[in-house]
C-alpha cells in the first residue's frame, strides 16, 4: 500500500520495528508456557535447568483433572450437537424470510454474545438455583448452547447465501417434504460448513469459562473452571502442561477448519 513511498525508509523501518514488538507482545504469553511445561523443577524457572514430563504425568494421573477433562469434552460435544442443528434451522429461516424479520431474528440470536459473560453467568445461576439445578451438566449446557448458536450462525449464514435454492425447489416440486429436502439436499451440500460450525461450537464450549465458574461445580466442573481456581490459589507447572495441551488441541481444530474451508 505504501510502495509509492520508497524514499521513506526510516519511517518504514520504525513502523515495522513497532509492528514486530506488538506481535511479540501478542505471542509471548502463549509461547512462554511451552518450555515451562517440560521443566523438571517445582519452581517456575526459565529456561528450565532440566527437562521432564512429570507435569504431564501429574495431569494425567490426577482424578480431578481427568474428571474435568471428561466433563469439558462431553459438554463440548453435546453443545455442538445441539447448537448446530438449531443454528442451521434458524439460518434457513433467516435466509428464506429476509428483510426486517431476518434482521430481527439475527439481533435476538446475537444478544448473548454481546452481553457480558458475568451477567449471563449470575442470571443463569439465579434461574438454576430456583430450579435446584446448580452444579448439573444441564445448567452449563444451556449456557454453552446459547453462546455457540451465534458462532455457528456466523459460519452457516454465508454458506446458505451461496446455496442454490433451485435444488430445494426441484426436490419439493417432486414431492419431497421439508424435512427430506433439508436432510437430503441442504445438509450434504453444506457438509464442510456444517463441520466447521460443529468444530467452532465445540471450541466455544471448550473455551467458555465465566458461566462454568458460576454454574458448574463438583463432578461437573469444567477444565477452565479448575484452571481458574488453581490460578487463584497456587501456580505450579501442572497448569503449564495443561495449557500446552489445551493450546495444541485448539490450534489443531482451528487449522482443520481453515484448511477445510480453503479446499
Amino acid at each position: 500500500m505504501l510502495e509509492a513511498y520508497p524514499q521513506n525508509r526510516l519511517a518504514r523501518i520504525l513502523l515495522w520495528s513497532f509492528a514486530a514488538l506488538v506481535m511479540a507482545f501478542l505471542m509471548l504469553p502463549t509461547l512462554v508456557v511451552v518450555p515451562l511445561s517440560f521443566s523438571a523443577s517445582n519452581l517456575l524457572e526459565f529456561p528450565p535447568h532440566a527437562y521432564s514430563l512429570r507435569w504431564y504425568e501429574n495431569f494425567f494421573g490426577s482424578a480431578t483433572w481427568m474428571a474435568a477433562l471428561r466433563t469439558s469434552l462431553v459438554l463440548g460435544t453435546l453443545t455442538a450437537l445441539i447448537a448446530v442443528p438449531f443454528a442451521l434451522l434458524a439460518c434457513i429461516s433467516m435466509n428464506r424470510l429476509g428483510g426486517k424479520t431476518s434482521a430481527a431474528i439475527q439481533s435476538v440470536l446475537l444478544t448473548p454474545s454481546i452481553t457480558p459473560g458475568i451477567l449471563l453467568a449470575i442470571g443463569l445461576f439465579f434461574v438454576l438455583a430456583a430450579q435446584h439445578l446448580i452444579g448439573t451438566l444441564f445448567g452449563v449446557l444451556v449456557g454453552h448452547v446459547v453462546l455457540a448458536v451465534p458462532v455457528a450462525c456466523i459460519v452457516l449464514l454465508p454458506a446458505l447465501a451461496r446455496f442454490d435454492w433451485n435444488q430445494v425447489q426441484a426436490a419439493r416440486s417432486l414431492g419431497a417434504n421439508w424435512a427430506r429436502a433439508i436432510g437430503e439436499i441442504i445438509v450434504p451440500q453444506l457438509r464442510i460448513s456444517l463441520l466447521s460450525a460443529t468444530l467452532m461450537a465445540f471450541l466455544t464450549s471448550l473455551d467458555e469459562s465465566v458461566i462454568s465458574i458460576f454454574v458448574a461445580s463438583g463432578r461437573n466442573s469444567t477444565m477452565p473452571k479448575l484452571m481458574f481456581l488453581s490460578l487463584r490459589d497456587q501456580i505450579d507447572p501442572t497448569i503449564a502442561a495443561i495449557s500446552t495441551l489445551w493450546t495444541v488441541i485448539v490450534v489443531a481444530v482451528v487449522l482443520i477448519v481453515t484448511l477445510r474451508q480453503k479446499s
Partner: protein, 295 residues
C-alpha cells in the same frame, strides 16, 4: 417480489412464511431460556430480600456504598485504558500488515490471531509467569541492571491492563486491518504523484478511510472490556475490583444475591449508556467518512 392476487396462492405464501418462522423457534427458545430469562431474573432478584420479600433496600445499600463507586471508576479506567492502548498499538500494526503483499500478510495475521485461539486462562497463566516478582520480565530487568528492584507488574492495575489489552488487541485489529486492506492503492498513488508527503497521506487518506474500522474495533473492545471478569480476578490479585469482580465477591463470598443483582443492573445501565454514545458517534464518523471521500 411479485404481487400475489390469487387468495389460494396468498394463503400458501402465508403458510410458507409461518413455516420458515417456525424454523427459528428452537434457537430463539434457547436464547429466551438461557439469556433473556436470566437477565429478567437479575432485575427481579434486585428487588428481593434474602427472605424473598419485596424491597428497595438492595439499591439503597449498593448505591450508598463507596465500594460501588470505586468499582464503577475502576471499570471505566480499565475499559478506556484498554481502548487507548488498543488504538495506539493496533492501528500501526494494522497499517504495517496492510502494506505488505496479501500472502505474507495472511501468514502474519495467523500469528497475530494465535492468542485469539488460546484459552483466556492459558494466556492469563502466561502473563503470571512473565510478570511475577520472580518472573521472566523482572529477571531480565534486574539481570541487565535496568532496575535495581523487581517492578510490581502483576496483582495490580498494570498487570490487569496488560492482560486485558492482550485479550482485546486481536479483536480490535481485525476490523481495522480489513478497512485498511479495502483502501484503493490508486488513491495513495494519486496522492503521492501530486506531491503529498507520507505524513499527509496517512493523515488525509488512510486515517479517514480506516475510521469506520477503528470505530468498529473500538465498539468491540468496549463491549468486551466493560464486563471483563477473568483477567481482573486473576491478574488483579484482589486489589483491582471493577463491577465484574465486585459482583462475584458479593455473590460468592457474601451470599448477597440482591446486592449482586443491583451491581449487575449497574453494569447493564453502563452498557446501555455506552451503546447510546456509540450510536451517536457512529453518525459523526459516517459523516466524516463521506466528507473525506468527497473531498
Amino acid at each position: 417480489m411479485t404481487v400475489v392476487r390469487d387468495p389460494a396462492l396468498a394463503a400458501d405464501a402465508r403458510r410458507e412464511r409461518r413455516f420458515f418462522l417456525s424454523l427459528s423457534l428452537p434457537a430463539l427458545f434457547i436464547v429466551g431460556l438461557a439469556a433473556i430469562l436470566p437477565i429478567l431474573w437479575i432485575i427481579r432478584q434486585s428487588f428481593l430480600t434474602t427472605a424473598g420479600e419485596y424491597t428497595v433496600g438492595n439499591y439503597q445499600k449498593v448505591l450508598s456504598s463507596g465500594l460501588t463507586w470505586s468499582a464503577l471508576v475502576t471499570t471505566l479506567e480499565l475499559s478506556l485504558g484498554t481502548l487507548a492502548a488498543c488504538i495506539l498499538l493496533g492501528t500501526p500494526l494494522a497499517l504495517a500488515l496492510a502494506s505488505v503483499r496479501p500472502r505474507l500478510a495472511n501468514v502474519l495475521m495467523a500469528f497475530v490471531m494465535l492468542p485469539l485461539w488460546t484459552s483466556i486462562l492459558v494466556r492469563t497463566y502466561g502473563w503470571l509467569v512473565l510478570l511475577r516478582r520472580d518472573g521472566l520480565i523482572n529477571a531480565a530487568l534486574t539481570g541487565s541492571g535496568l532496575t535495581a528492584e523487581p517492578l510490581p507488574l502483576v496483582y495490580n492495575f498494570t498487570g490487569t491492563l496488560i492482560g486485558m489489552v492482550h485479550y482485546m488487541l486481536p479483536l480490535f485489529l481485525l476490523p481495522v486491518y480489513a478497512a485498511m486492506r479495502d483502501i484503493d492503492p490508486n488513491l495513495i498513488r494519486a496522492a503521492a504523484s501530486m506531491g503529498a508527503t507520507l505524513r499527509q497521506v496517512i493523515r488525509t487518506v488512510i486515517m479517514p478511510l480506516s475510521a469506520g474500522g477503528i470505530f468498529s474495533g473500538s465498539i468491540i473492545v468496549l463491549i468486551y472490556a466493560i464486563g471483563f471478569f477473568i483477567t481482573p480476578a486473576v491478574l488483579g490479585g484482589g486489589k483491582v475490583n471493577p463491577l465484574s469482580t465486585r459482583i462475584e465477591r458479593t455473590l460468592s463470598t457474601f451470599q448477597d444475591w440482591g446486592s449482586a443483582s443491583v451491581l449487575g443492573i449497574l453494569l447493564l445501565v453502563l452498557m446501555a449508556l455506552i451503546g447510546v454514545m456509540l450510536l451517536a458517534a457512529r453518525r459523526l464518523v459516517a459523516q466524516n467518512t463521506v466528507e473525506a471521500s468527497h473531498a
